[in-house]
Amino acid sequence: MYTKIILMALAVWMTAGFHATFAQSMSGKEIIEEVYYRPQGDDQESSLTMTLINSRGDQRVREIRQFMKDLGEVEKSIMFFTSPADVTDTSFMNWSYADGSDDDQWIYLPSIRRVRRISSDSKTDRFMGSDFTYDDLGDRHPDDDTHERLPDETIDGLDCYVVESKSKDPDYLYSRTVTWIDRETLIGVQKEFYDRDGDLLKVLTVKNHEHISGFDIITHSEMHDVQRDHRTIMELNDVQINTGVSENMFTERMMSRGL
């Protein structure tokens, strides 16, 4: 009994100690890779409430039912608007490729009963008119930037790694970003985006994350465009992970069929 306790304590101490030493030696790039590859399940089904707020406090609220599936080479997602009424059943599908080639995107407009391709020039397009770009939502590959680790900081009681990332492409939307990563969950809890001129452009704050089916899922985040004073709040509800979303879900036929 005694030995067991001692062993356990030792194990705890050792893992903690090991983790601490490892963490101490992790480079900025390694940390960002940890975040990028953080397991989030193979598929996900959820309800997304997206609230856009302008500088005067006017709001546009959109409710979306979304499905995602990671197929390795390609990550597919499909979303169906459920509110507001005049866009209900509008659906949107995105295929994002691991090799970094441009996403394929489709939209279905029920009013003209047609599926249309949208050509997106780059991943720096706004996601559904929000303050998030596709990159901001987690698409940006760690190899696209150089990373430098800054001294650790504590924000909101969380011990965080701080990493500064600079784009290798000088024409990229952001000249640099600074990310605060919770050491425990490896979730980037705060991120600052600086524009090409080096001025602060946006601040991303993760307000809440939940432990669902063994994964840490961000369920409430806010992006604040400080230059336009415009905000986007994303809230996830009814999150279900690894329920075996069918690959057949992600077709043009499904888009027009609706939920």
């Binding site: 006017d58 005049d86 995107q105 009013s111 003209i112």
Partner: protein, 771 residues
Amino acid sequence: MSSILNRLLAYPKVVLFAALLISLFLGREMTQNTRMETNLDEYMPQDHPAFIYSDQAEEWFGIKDGIIVAVSHEESIYNPATLDTLRSLTERFRRMDEIGRDDVTSLYTAENIVGSEYGLEVKDFYTTVPESEEALRSLRKAVEDNEMVHGRTVSKDGKVALIIAEIEDDVFTLEFYEHILDVCAASETEEIDIRVAGRPIVEGTMALLAPADMKRMLPIVLVLIVVSLWVMLRTAKGTVLTMLVVLFSVIWAFGLMALLGIPIYAVTTLMPVMLIAIGVADGIHLLSHMQLFRQNNPGAGKKEAIADMTGHMWKPVLMTSVTTSVGFLSLLTSEVLPIRYFGVFTAFGVMTAMLFSLVFIPAALMLVGLPKNKPGRKTREASVHPMAATLTRGVLKRKYLSILGAAVIIVLSLIGMQRVWINSSFLDKFEQDSDIVQTDAYINEYFGGTTNLNLVLDAGEDGYDVFKEPGVLRLMDQLQEEVESELDVVGNSFGITDYLKRMNKVMHEDRESYYTIPETREMVAQYLLLYEMSGDPDNLNRIVDYNYARGNLTFQLKSDNSIAIHSVLDAINRYEPDFNELGVELNYAGSGYKGLVFTDLILEGQIKSLVISLVLIVILLSLMFKNIRVGLIGAVPITITALIGFGVMGFLNIPLNTTTALLSSIAIGIGIDYAVHFLQQYRVNARNTGDKYLTAQKTMNHTGRAISFNAIVVIAGFLVLLFSVFPPNRELGALVSMNMFTSFVGTLTIMLVLLNKTRLFFRHNKTARDN
């Protein structure tokens, strides 16, 4: 009063020293702390409902005035060199501190909403300059296929492309303007021609160059006034003293403004003109009186002559200054702040001129001695100059002529006044062949127009999604089409309708029959959502608000004059009942509209204050002369002068604008001086002689002389402005001169006749004989 002045005369050095000291202090204040206000928004009454709404709408939709740069190539802009010029200029403007990054639009920044076999795409027209023939051809086709840029940012013949850089109202400076011109000039080649226009340029140039022009002209005006003063008074000392009085009053007025931290507004630049025209009068009357006194009393000494001058003249000088000041103070009723300041400080300047005339001139004369009197004029037995005698005889013999003449002039003026029109145009203030007007005409020829009028369609706070309703959108579209086709002055209009029609078309394989408003609310909403996903949502913010409760329709006009803007407003307002039925109100915004309202406000205030000052002056005169009929008769010359001013403007097609409207104040300010001097002298002479004819003759000799000196001096000076490069300054010169002349003639004819017809001032003298 007289005794105070006499006591002061005992210490001329102290008086002079004090006057100089204060002037020096205020002069320093003026040169160091004077600030010019070039932001036109600062001129507008901030609490006026039209301005409050417009300012709010400007903020909602980011409505700003744009500097328009036209890049043209003889053959077409679709060649690498021109496209690269467009690109590099756009980038340079974007990087300027005065211009926001997102506030520059050109073909290089424009978004191309197209339909392809895929569906909808929002693309750039070009990011790297196309080099190959084929790429250039396809760019040309892309532009020509897109109604949102064809004829808007690129001319329909493909020879001219625009870069529009929107700026905030308060960033325009001469340096900035010159910088833009330099940048553009540097990009010009033999084939590529670049021109700059737009309201900020017009407004800014106006605000900067008009005072600069005045600064250049004013010294010439002053020199001519000095010369003619000397010719009239024949005394160097008197001329210098009179001019010093005027200069000091200007310095005091401007110095006090600087001391109180009040900036110079465009109207304020009229102040020196006003003060010169009015201020010289005091000196002329004083010195003229002294000359007559010394002619009639050759033996009088220095002290005696000066004492007689102040003793005799302090009253009319005080009275004229008070009446004139009251006239200007009536401008306090204006809603426009700069006009109020103008009124207060001109009144202050007039009072300063009075103070200097009564204190400084006598004190200075005490010190430097009397001027030499004109030789050879005192030989005549009668103390009346033959010219005055002839004039008096002429006027009083043919009284009917004056009355008839006045009547005819009044009728003609009233007819002319009907034709007076108001013009808030800035462009019309420039020479027709000036660069600014030419460039404007050039851009208007190729594009929709350089003047924007923003119609804000407002369904109120609770009008969520009204601008997604096809009914409302179709009415907007109908309005746009009708106004564009009906009025030549409207070149283009732009609103959310244009986006929706474009998207509807490209979503239907580019079929022209779908260039219409989508049929259902859902379709509209879904197109907009689609646009948000691929386009820049900030572009939508310029035409519709966040809740789709307010829309901004921009009309491009080829003229900024009031008639043009009013014609568009009238055409739009025909749709008001239809829109109201749908719960939508019509409002306007933007600088062109504000300019219109502003001009109306100034004129309204000006006319109000004209009436008020007339009434006040009649009351004042009645009190001063203790008879209401004197007040009424005294107001006749100023009334006629003001009427003639407006009448002539009507006949000569000179529009009322802020400058010309204020000039009616001069009519009153000067005209009333003449009348008061004349009345006061008439009263004195009436008492002394008890003879109507003799009184008239003596008054004509005394006051008529001074008045004519005054008129000749100021007219001579202000006619110089006819050579100004700025049409408004030319109008100013002509109208001031005309006011002087009509006041002068009116006082010596019709007023004298009316006085003569009554028995005023003769009540107690039964022996007075009728003419």
